[in-house]
């Protein structure tokens, strides 16, 4: 245990706990409880949620990574394995560090394992708990091993379980009593941070920027947004609806935005494919709309509950016709909050479709969330009509942005048109008028390009003076950043992908002699985008098996870079 003990003495080290069982056994909820206990002690946590596309049975697990500093990725190796069933042990024991500890359900598993068996089912029965509460016995045992003070456990259980807290605590206490104490984990002295998924933080960001209306058809991994906003619609003073399909969703959303509601929709690749006709309409009719596209392993139905970044090129080109839209890919929950707010404001300022491109690892992973960011997002007003003279929905202006008015306003006729149109909004077909309106939109696209260069559209991490850089985007930021900092590379993360921040990218690449690219698709789609701007990649590290990138494997693959 000496090495394990070292983890707790050395603030630079962190550790991982994996808890697993069949779907419906409650391992996910217990993962959150464990993470909350460490949060209470001032640690930063990250939970990777792994589950197949089924409701009961199978094998679910959560990996809880705990550190004194920010963590944004799961690790390949785990230090503690909490097993509700045999499948969890058999599937994960090879990931356990040499000195790792298994805490297991000894009612089901009679073999001897490297660790401590707890009769969690017997305990739960004796304490008259529901079968799902057996998790708490494992949590109690873990807490004892680590020497965590009992009041912390009590506090977290009370907050998490409400009425059933007392039974769960009794069960946890029995697990606690059944395990030895091996270390003493200390408080970090840092403030406890709340835990949120990226789906939740992006929802909060959009609400902070004045979201009025969210429409969605359920699709993993974006469904969490629908649930979170539905459950909070009164509190946030917004409307939330689920309609018949994604085509209905996008077209209703555009109607709502036309009527003045700041509107967002959410889906994954398959649903996004159905929505693409709406992107074209939004661009032509100049209607603001934010689409959250949370990628999963595609093509087609793919691997619904696992990760991928294979929709990048599709998102960039989605929508028929000459279209420039905003495509923004935040890399973690913090960025999801900020950019969800920003993109809602941008879509209204430029009256354009805008896509927040994320993936399962941002949507469903749970992050320690620093609420200091709350002040950074607010409602930014779009250009509104000054109520003078006759209203022209598509009025010619210097930058191509026409003032907005909404149906219901007195003395105003607002005409939105999917056909090419004149300034008032009536259909036109003659060449001068067609070209004129195309030119108006082209001017607006130019303004959007300029706007992007004013934003912090490209982030740089790691060793700023390094001659070698790693480029990555989206959730792959997490594991890559860790490795870049450790090995002394520069890491460049383009966040705004369309309009592409070419100038900022050029600045970030100054003095760089060699570039490695890391992303989660097989065709290195980001490379194709970079190539458009003359950026050549020397090495590609691609992963496309649905699993997250682990820092260890990136480090291994960058050994000879």
């Amino acid at each position: 245990m000496a090495k394990l003990n070292n983890i707790f003495q050395n603030p630079k080290k962190d550790f991982s706990i994996l808890i697993g069982g069949a779907a419906g056994e409650g391992s996910r909820a217990s993962g959150i409880v464990i993470a909350k206990i460490f949060s209470e002690l001032g640690y930063r946590v990250y939970i990777y949620q792994d589950y197949p596309s089924l409701i009961k049975g199978g094998h679910n697990f959560s990996q809880i990574r705990v550190s004194q500093k920010e963590v944004l990725a799961p690790t390949k190796k785990i230090n503690f394995l909490l097993a509700l069933d045999k499948r969890t042990i058999e599937g994960h024991k090879k990931e356990l560090t040499k000195d790792g500890i298994i805490l297991y359900n000894s009612d089901e598993l009679t073999e001897k394992y490297q660790g401590i068996g707890i009769p969690i089912e017997t305990i739960t029965q004796e304490e008259k708990g529901l079968p799902i509460m057996k998790n708490s016995a494992l949590v109690g045992a873990l807490v004892k091993i680590m020497g965590i003070d009992w009041p912390v456990v009590e506090k977290v259980f009370q907050e998490r379980f409400h009425q059933s807290a007392s039974v769960n605590l009794k069960i946890a206490k029995r697990g606690f009593n059944a395990a030895p104490n091996l270390f003493k984990i200390k408080k970090t002295g840092q403030k406890a941070l709340p835990l949120f998924t990226g789906n939740e933080t992006l929802s909060l960001g959009a609400v902070a920027a004045g979201l009025d209306f969210y429409l969605s058809y359920p699709m993993t991994p974006a469904t969490g947004i629908l649930h979170f906003l539905s459950n909070n619609q009164k509190k946030f003073k917004i409307k939330v609806v689920q309609l018949e399909n994604e085509i209905g969703i996008i077209n209703a959303a555009l109607g709502a935005a036309f009527a003045g509601a700041r509107t967002m929709v959410g889906t994954s690749g398959g649903g996004f494919a159905l929505m693409t006709e709406g992107i074209s309409l939004a661009s032509q009719s100049e209607i603001p709309i934010v689409i959250v596209e949370s990628q999963r392993m595609s093509p087609a139905t793919g691997v619904p509950t696992y990760n991928g970044q294979g929709d990048l090129l599709f998102t960039l080109t989605a929508g028929h016709g000459d279209i420039v839209k905003f495509v923004i890919a935040p890399g973690d929950a913090q960025e999801a909050y900020f950019w969800a707010g920003k993109i809602l404001n941008l879509s209204w300022q430029y009256q354009t479709p805008a896509i927040l491109l994320i993936d399962k690892l941002i949507s469903e992973s749970i992050f320690s969330f620093d609420q200091n960011i709350f002040g950074q997002v607010k409602y930014e007003a779009p250009l509104l009509w000054d109520k003078k003279g006759k209203y022209f929905r598509y009025q010619e202006t210097k930058n191509g942005i026409s003032p907005l008015a909404f149906p219901g306003e007195k003395n105003v006729v607002v005409k939105s048109n999917s056909y090419e149109h004149d300034e008032f909004g009536l259909t036109v077909e003659d060449k001068e008028k067609v070209e004129k309106m195309q030119n108006k939109r082209l001017k607006k696209f130019q303004a959007m390009r300029k706007e992007v260069e004013k934003l912090e559209a490209v982030k740089v991490y790691g060793k700023k003076t390094a001659k070698k850089a790693i480029i990555t985007w989206g959730s792959t930021k997490g594991p890559t950043k860790e490795v870049a900092e450790k090995l002394g590379f520069k890491m460049i993360q383009p966040i705004v992908l369309e309009p592409f921040p070419a100038k900022q990218m050029k600045r970030a690449l100054q003095g760089i002699e060699k570039i490695a690219l890391i992303e989660m698709n097989g065709l290195s789609q980001m490379e194709k985008l970079l190539n458009c701007y003359g950026i050549k990649v020397a090495k590609k590290i691609l992963k496309y098996d649905g699993q997250p990138f682990f820092p260890e494997e990136i480090e291994e693959k960058l050994k000879n870079f």
Partner: protein
């Protein structure tokens, strides 16, 4: 009241859409007279000959994508329930491309009005068969005749729980005007299937003029009675003597989707 715009009307000479435009303008003028604020009216169009109508109306309008006018209208209504939202859509848009939106909007009883300008063919793409084209209909994609039987959209509306179901005829301008007023005044999902001949591709003027009759509207809350009336005509034109009822078939009061959302 002048509801015209400066747009040049591009329908074929003698098109039934001219008559429908007239009925609609009269209906709107009468509603405005009764106190409906003009700025609260939004017309939503689909794609097709019928949908050109929004360009000819000096009213708030949203020209949607093909088949999606009902979905966009729902969004407008949900964002601002004070608006009176009226959809113009063709049989192709409503019963082919966008049929799911029609069914679900009716099921929700969202307070919008859907006017289906039904000429039983895709006219703007030169006359292919739609869901309401009769069996045997000859178009450029069915030179040997349509091998599908037509859909009865009123029956579908009834099954989808629409709370106002009516049928009008383009060439009965006063009758249609009255139907439109009642449909817009109805609290909930109101649907009027407006039969219209297409002079260029499917001229049923004679067939309609001979067979259409106005129903005596009574017992409008009975589904059974409504179904009986609805089944008098199946949208085929195989026999010359065919009774085609027009008027209101069904009308009930039910909480709207927006009311239930509160």
């Amino acid at each position: 009241m002048n509801l015209d715009t400066y747009a040049e009307k591009t329908w074929c000479p003698g098109c039934g859409n001219f008559a429908i435009l007239e009925s609609f303008k009269r209906a709107i003028a009468s509603l405005i007279k009764e106190g409906v604020a003009k700025e609260k009216i939004v017309v939503v169009s689909d794609i097709g000959c019928n949908s050109k109508i929004v360009d000819y109306l000096d009213l708030n309008s949203f020209s949607a994508l093909h088949g999606r006018a009902i979905a966009s209208a729902e969004g407008i209504k949900l964002a601002n329930p004070d608006l009176k939202v009226i959809v113009f859509i063709g049989d192709g848009g409503c019963y082919n491309e966008g049929i799911s939106h029609f069914i679900h909007a009716a099921k929700r009883n969202i307070d919008i009005t859907v006017l289906v300008l039904n000429n039983s063919n895709f006219a703007l793409t030169t006359g292919q068969f739609t869901a309401t084209s009769p069996y045997g209909f000859k178009g450029p994609s069915t030179p040997e005749g349509n091998i599908e039987s037509p859909l009865n959209p009123l029956k579908l509306a009834l099954a989808s729980q629409a709370t106002f179901i009516a049928r009008g005829y383009a060439l009965k301008i006063k009758h249609l005007e009255n139907l439109i007023i009642q449909a817009i005044n109805h609290q909930g999902f109101s649907f009027v299937d407006v039969l219209m001949p297409c002079l260029s591709f499917f001229d049923q003027t004679l067939f309609y003029n001979q067979n259409i009759y106005e129903i005596k509207e009574k017992n409008l809350t009975s589904q059974k009675e409504a179904l009986k009336k609805i089944e008098e005509w199946d949208y085929n034109n195989l026999t010359e003597n065919q009774k085609i009822p027009i008027g209101i078939f069904y009308k009930i009061q039910k909480p709207t989707y927006e009311e239930r959302m509160k």
